[in-house]
């Protein structure tokens, strides 16, 4: 059994208990043993001075693409979990649009095994809603949950059939798992490569109107009401979606939603000069959308921040805008972008950000973590929110480099990440190594 | 100079004056007027812009303002007299000869300049010269004509070029 570890002198922020004070955190046997000021170090304990950092429950990302199996040149479960740890995440949920699709018990089990072998951040599989993500026949939710799936989603593709979405929500009630939907009405978005607006008009690129997302958000909310199921809406991007969510929450429906750091910080203008690193789906929208999304996160209308980490090989983005794939990597910039834009930008307090990046996503997906309550697994992050750093994609632990934030100066990054009490990322050691 | 041109051409038959843009065009007009006063014949005049025939596009970049090229009909069988203000390296005349060749086959081409400042880089000589001025590469010869510059004047500025 590993020696006890005392994290000494940090600013402990635990939104699950409304805690924000200078305190020590004692970790023993992989769990939080105690949190409080001036804790003594038990015999044989390692003491780590974390003064000047924020000690918080490890960040939780409910939406990542780890590409294994199928595209291990872009990312593997091990490199993705390592990148997550470097970003301060102790748990991530892997979307099932792998090759082959994670739509059965064996495929879910493979991801669980690979993640245990890798041993960095915890990786929770999300199973497919439909067999092969083809949008027709329901996948075996029960078997997948038995093997470790924490939710179902056809992400990467929308659930086009309203009937399928309805039955998925109804059927998922048995297992009390959320059904995560990528909201996109495909006949409206077909061929679109960026937000439908003035920039698309100028660049001559086909736009994806906000309505393509909002129609599906509205539909899913109506189906959640009809079925009593738990719907989780992925990466909302428009002010219209925010309004629909606000009304759904007011009516007490079981609807949750996430937003990405890039939709909280960038607009359609990032696509200028055909920068393919700004090509993502849903697309970057307008300043008014960004403002509405920030407000919604502050109000809790949107529940959590998720990265939608989507690695692509270096040469895939080296193409004409129409031909480049959608998506960017986000695990190693998520906290820095969110802290810089939202906390330093005045939209959220630091405890609110931790709430939205750790406590709430863990609750929504029913995961361990998101808390420093004694007895909970010691999934902990010490965040350095003082030093600025510059994003250097070449230094990512992820296998891919496709980020629109390259060269950006950010504040806020993980100094130390622990999963079950074990150090999985140590910026000091990494810097010295 | 007009007299010399007539002598050179043995009269005005078949004579065509071709001015090089820009001041050569004005000089050609003046010579034509003088010939008209003397001989009672208005000889055909043309204008030639040699910009597109220069051999230094790669080194000095494009010259944005290209003047008009306008020739009085086919030059085949004519005696073309090229008129320019200053004869220096000879490259302009070389370009003008190339360009004229694309407009027909004159029976003879002559060269008439107001100032010959020496410094030739090509084996080209003028047939009619208003004035010979000895200059060095650092000097600038500025010709002003009333039609374009408001006055007629030739200045030699010593050491004007670095």
């Amino acid at each position: 059994m590993a020696a006890p570890l005392l994290l000494q002198g940090g600013r402990v922020v635990d939104p699950s208990r409304d805690l924000d004070e200078t305190a020590d955190v004692l970790i023993q046997d992989g769990r939080i043993a105690a949190v409080g000021p001036g804790l003594g170090a038990p015999a044989g304990a390692t003491v780590r001075d974390v003064r000047g950092t924020v000690v918080a429950p490890g960040l939780v990302d409910v939406h990542v693409h780890l590409r294994e199996p199928g595209n291990e040149d872009e990312e593997t479960i091990a490199t993705g979990a390592r990148a997550a740890a470097a970003g301060g995440f102790t748990a991530v949920c892997a979307m099932p649009n792998t090759d082959p699709v994670t739509d059965n018990q064996a495929a879910v089990g493979f991801i669980v095994r690979q993640s245990l072998r890798a041993g960095f951040a915890r990786v929770y599989p999300i199973g497919a809603i439909s067999v092969g993500q083809r949008g027709q026949q329901l996948a075996e939710f029960g078997e997948m949950v038995g093997a470790g799936a924490v939710a179902v989603s056809d992400d990467g593709k929308p659930v086009v059939s309203s009937h399928l979405m309805r039955t998925a929500l109804e059927y998922a009630r048995t297992f009390d798992i959320p059904v995560a939907d990528h909201c996109e009405e495909p006949s409206l978005s077909a061929g679109g490569v960026m937000h439908e607006g003035l920039v698309a008009t100028r660049l001559g690129l086909k736009g994806i109107p906000a309505a393509a997302e909002e129609i599906m958000v509205a539909r899913d909310i109506l189906l959640a009401e009809l079925t009593g199921g738990r719907v989780h809406l992925c990466h909302l991007s428009t002010r219209g979606s925010v309004e629909l969510m606000r009304r759904a929450k007011e009516r007490g429906l079981r609807v949750t939603a996430e937003v990405t750091p890039h939709h909280l910080s960038l607009t359609e203008t990032a696509c200028e000069r055909y920068d393919t690193h700004a090509k993502m789906n849903p697309p970057l929208r307008e300043a008014a959308d960004v403002a509405a999304l920030r407000q919604a996160l502050q109000d809790g209308v949107i529940d959590c921040v998720a990265s939608d980490h989507a690695p692509h090989a270096y040469d895939e983005k080296e193409a004409a805008f129409d031909d480049a794939p959608f998506g960017i990597v986000g695990l190693e910039t998520a906290f820095g972008v969110a802290y810089t834009e939202l906390v330093q930008g005045g939209a959220l307090t630091l405890p609110q950000l931790i709430l939205r990046m750790s406590t709430v996503p863990a609750q929504v997906f029913g995961l361990a973590g998101g808390t420093l309550r004694p007895g909970a697994p010691a999934d902990v992050v010490a965040l350095d929110v003082t030093a600025g750093w510059s994003v250097d994609a070449a230094r990512f632990h992820s296998k891919s480099r496709n980020t629109p934030f390259a060269g950006r100066s950010l504040t806020g990054r993980a100094a130390l990440t622990l999963v079950a009490g074990k150090i999985v990322h140590d910026a000091r050691a990494a810097a010295e190594g | 100079m007009a007299v010399a041109v007539i002598e050179l051409a043995h009269g005005t038959d078949d004579l065509v004056l071709i001015g090089i843009q820009r001041r050569g065009v004005e000089l050609a007009e003046r010579i034509a007027k003088l010939i008209e006063q003397q001989e009672g014949v208005l000889v055909p005049r043309g204008a030639l812009d040699i910009t597109l025939y220069r051999d230094d596009l790669q080194t000095v970049g494009p010259k944005p303002v290209i003047g008009e090229t306008r020739l009085p009909g086919d030059l085949t069988g004519k005696h073309a007299v090229i008129v320019d203000d200053v004869l220096y390296t000879g490259r302009t005349v070389r370009a003008a000869l190339d360009e004229l060749a694309d407009f027909g086959r004159p029976k003879r081409i002559s060269l008439c300049v107001l100032v010959d400042r020496g410094g030739r880089e090509l084996p080209i000589q003028a047939d009619v010269v208003g004035k010979v001025v000895k200059t060095g590469p650092g000097d600038v010869v500025e010709v002003q004509v009333a039609e374009l510059d408001g006055r007629d004047q030739v200045d030699v500025v010593r050491g004007a070029r670095q």
Binding site: G197, G204, A319, D322 | D49, L52, D85, V140
Partner: protein, 323 residues
């Protein structure tokens, strides 16, 4: 003095009014070159130009090829039509290959918006955009501007209406930039299902009906309607399009003033334009074609020596001398 165009001509959006005027003024003497018995000047002798057409085009390619040959450049035509999936890959590889062959200029036509920019950012050679997706077709707009200037003697204050499929038209975008920069009043007219979002913010008026356009405009620039727009459901039928938006003799008869009709070609007679209009006295369509060669010669000529540092050097002391 010298308003250099820079390394590439990607679109008119990024050119200044002075740069656009420079190209138009430079095109004037090139018109005369095409009237000579020997239609050729040695200005680009020794330059190698590749015409890289990823999308079929007869007239634009021929126009560029004439322009290049009349400037004495050596030209190579590459017609590359790749599958949708391989397009991007091909473009990167093509760029690297061209660079390796030390060519001087590339004229590129591509179905993807931004392809010309993409190429220009990656090779040292000059790049001329001959149409990229729905983005820009700068030389077409330049020849349209030259034709308007020839016909009406000015561009400033002229009322020009672009009629047809604005949404998918690179010609429309380049024309809007060029015309507005030179002080024309610009309107667009077409079915709203073929009108891009936020087009008014580019400084144009949207006219609902073609009758309004004819009443308002000095110049109508009638855009080609692609057949696939009907198949994609943007309009119900070509027949109805002609009934509602076709530029016909009967409609033109109601014009309150002399109206000039332009078309970038190739025309769909009886779809967007009545044959009697295309061949009639309002039409300057063939003048556009003639001007196309002159404008392209001007662009190639200005870009050829157009390394900015050289253009700057030309402004220096040497420019004061004669000979």
């Amino acid at each position: 003095m010298t308003a250099a165009l820079g390394k590439d001509l990607i679109g008119l959006e990024r050119l200044s009014p002075d740069q656009i005027r420079l190209i138009l003024d430079t095109a004037e003497p090139f018109k005369e070159v095409s009237e000579r018995p020997i239609k050729k000047v040695p200005a680009l002798r020794g330059k190698t130009i590749v015409n890289l057409f990823f999308e079929a085009s007869t007239r634009t390619r021929i126009s560029f090829e004439f322009a290049e040959k009349r400037l004495s450049a050596d030209t190579v035509n590459v017609a590359a039509t790749g599958s949708a999936v391989q397009k991007g890959e091909t473009l990167v590889d093509t760029a690297k290959n061209l660079e390796a062959m030390r060519i001087d200029m590339v004229v590129i036509r591509h179905a993807s918006s931004g392809a010309a920019q993409f190429l220009g950012d990656r090779i040292r050679s000059n790049v001329v955009n001959a149409g990229d997706g729905k983005h820009e077709h700068p030389t077409q707009a330049l020849l349209d501007l030259l034709t308007i200037r020839d016909k009406l003697g000015r561009i400033e204050g002229v009322k020009v209406c672009l009629v047809g499929d604005i949404l998918h038209s690179r010609v429309a975008r380049s024309n809007i930039w060029g015309l507005t920069k030179l002080g024309a009043q610009v309107a667009v007219c077409g079915p709203h299902s073929l009108m891009p979002r936020g087009i008014e913010e580019l400084g144009v008026t949207v006219l609902r009906r073609v009758e309004e356009a004819i009443e308002w405009a000095d110049v109508l620039n009638v855009l080609r309607l692609q057949l696939e727009r009907m198949e994609a459901g943007f309009i119900p039928s070509l027949r109805e399009y002609y009934r509602v938006f076709g530029v016909t003799v009967e409609r033109l008869a109601k014009a309150p003033r002399a109206l000039t009709v332009m078309h970038p070609g190739p025309m769909n007679r009886g779809v967007e334009i009545d044959s009697r209009v295309a061949d009639g006295p309002h039409s300057v369509i063939l003048d556009q074609v003639t001007n196309g060669v002159a404008v392209r010669m001007a662009v190639l000529y200005l870009l050829a020596g157009g390394k900015p540092e050289l253009a700057d050097a030309a402004k220096g002391p040497a420019a004061g001398g004669t000979d």
